[in-house]
Symmetry: C2
Subunit: 318 residues, 2 copies
């Protein structure tokens, strides 16, 4: 999950000066907001501040954050897909790699830095819909009405994310994560036939790097058996997923997750009980990386995160 964010006063201070899009394109500021949560909390890893839509801007897509991504010309035709240019990270998004270099230089040696990208289906959902939507009816119906255009777009996005993630690793990212934010919009058949192939293509294109590969599968609790086929080291799951069952469905993979971020609003005793439940459900480490099951809401008290991190460390100390 994104660690930087509006729940932190120091992040809001930066955002008072620059817009979201400008922040993603300013290496010094992106590194600064990436480091802010690491200074404040005893997190075991850091994730670079950016947005999954950033490489698409580099591919010539005109978009704005309002605050979700709004695409000036939603993708609906094969001509538009073919006109999207291939991504050349050093030409199109050099600021991301520079932010990674600056962040790595500023991080304590024992805190690894995670690079990330959006999954092809998730990017497809935004590009075809044109704006965030509750049900994403437009991209979901487009998949069935225009299967060839859809397949070509997904393939092109997969190829772009391979070079994008490889460039992040070359710049210093020590693990790579793919966010399947909208995979949960698909039933099992379409998840297997639409979302999975481009994701597999990406991870196959990264495995020679030798860095840990993480797949965050949001709201995909009913397709974990399908996800088990992916060549990844870690699967991140949302708060709806019972962890004991997930570990059985994902043999040989570590699980990351999955405290409901809503529990950050509970009193200390409840928060601790619910952390205990997650740890008990997950079973013995190694094989479990404690995390939230979804992003931190802006209204969260940063002190709740401190309590969370301290308690998890206390409970999992050797």
């Amino acid at each position: 999950m994104r660690q930087a964010g509006r729940y932190l006063p120091e992040y809001r201070e930066v955002r008072a000066k620059v817009g979201f899009s400008e922040l993603t394109r300013s290496p010094e500021l992106a590194a600064e907001v990436t480091l802010q949560p690491i200074r404040r909390f005893a997190f075991d890893a850091s994730i670079i501040f950016s947005d999954i839509m950033v490489p698409l801007e580099g591919m010539g897509i005109d978009l704005d954050y309002a605050p979700g991504p709004v695409i000036a010309e939603p993708i609906r035709t094969m001509k538009q897909v073919e006109e999207m240019r291939s991504l050349e990270p050093q030409r199109d998004v050099p600021f991301v790699m520079e932010a990674i270099r600056l962040t790595r230089a500023g991080l304590p040696a024992h805190v690894p830095l995670i690079g990330f990208a959006g999954s092809p289906f998730t990017l497809f959902a935004y590009l075809v819909a044109g704006k965030p939507s509750k049900e994403f009816a437009v991209p979901r119906s487009f998949l069935h009405a225009e299967p060839q255009v859809s397949a070509r777009l997904l393939e092109k996005l997969a190829d772009a994310m391979i070079v994008y993630l490889r460039a992040q690793a070359a710049a210093g990212a020590q693990a790579l994560m793919l966010f399947e934010s909208w995979g949960g919009l698909l039933g099992p058949y379409d998840f297997r036939h639409v979302a999975l192939p481009p994701v597999k293509r990406i991870f196959d294109g990264l495995k020679d790097l030798g860095v840990p590969l993480i797949y965050f599968a949001n709201n995909c609790g009913t397709v974990l058996d399908i996800i088990s086929e992916l060549p990844v080291d870690v699967v991140g799951v949302d708060w709806r997923v019972p962890l004991a069952g997930a570990r059985k469905l994902l043999p040989g993979k570590a699980i990351q997750g999955n405290l409901d971020p809503a529990v950050l609003f509970a009193p200390k005793a409840t928060l601790e009980k619910r952390i205990d439940d997650v740890l008990a459900d997950a079973g013995p480490a190694p094989g479990h990386i404690f995390n939230l099951g979804h992003g931190i809401w802006p209204e969260v008290d940063p002190d709740a995160i401190t309590r969370l991190v301290d308690y998890v460390h206390e409970r999992t100390a050797k």
Copy 2:
């Protein structure tokens, strides 16, 4: 799922004359739009046109449809909960029972009429949020910050839905369905401890009626084992759920679902293949009621529904 809707030109014609809220309160017009899809399609059952928020208006909640429900004064305190009046259906929502009587009189004898209500947690989500939202962060955090107020509100909503559904059955509804539209916002622990108890209270309060009880559990694929404890005849599942697995998790219950409504945009051959897949996954009837896995979008061509119904009947004819 609602059968009436904007995908039907005859429904849009009625809506050109009256607003949504007025339509729910006009028995003749509500009966008319309930009967429209039955005249056009060979559906095996009919569901009364209404909205899950209608009984809350009867309980004194000031709300508007924009188009999702917007609550003038979102519920946040015990005082507000205590001030919500109990529902007396004949006093507060007589038009719903009148619509049921008129619809029953207009339906062919072989088409049963389903009455419905919203689940307590789903109604809670709208009442506390105050407006529809992507993540419902406000009610989800409220649950943890104000557990006593939450529990009292859920209990009060359960009691209201019992009398509401009993009144619908007395007016002629031959099956009763509860829509857990937002249960999928909860992880397994909260689903069991927050959403389930008021639902069980409702079904326990209906079982002496002797009518089939249906629970539609949207996006609840990871908690079907918990749902199996409910005293219901039928569980409706969304399109994310593999039906073969669901039938194993719900012994003794029929399953209703679950074609992805997005598939209605596919060519005829694809639509038929996907219907075949649902039927094969569900296994032998009885025990499976074919349905969509979610509501019909306004952009759907009504002819796709005709093709769907005809093909399902052809494939399942004795």
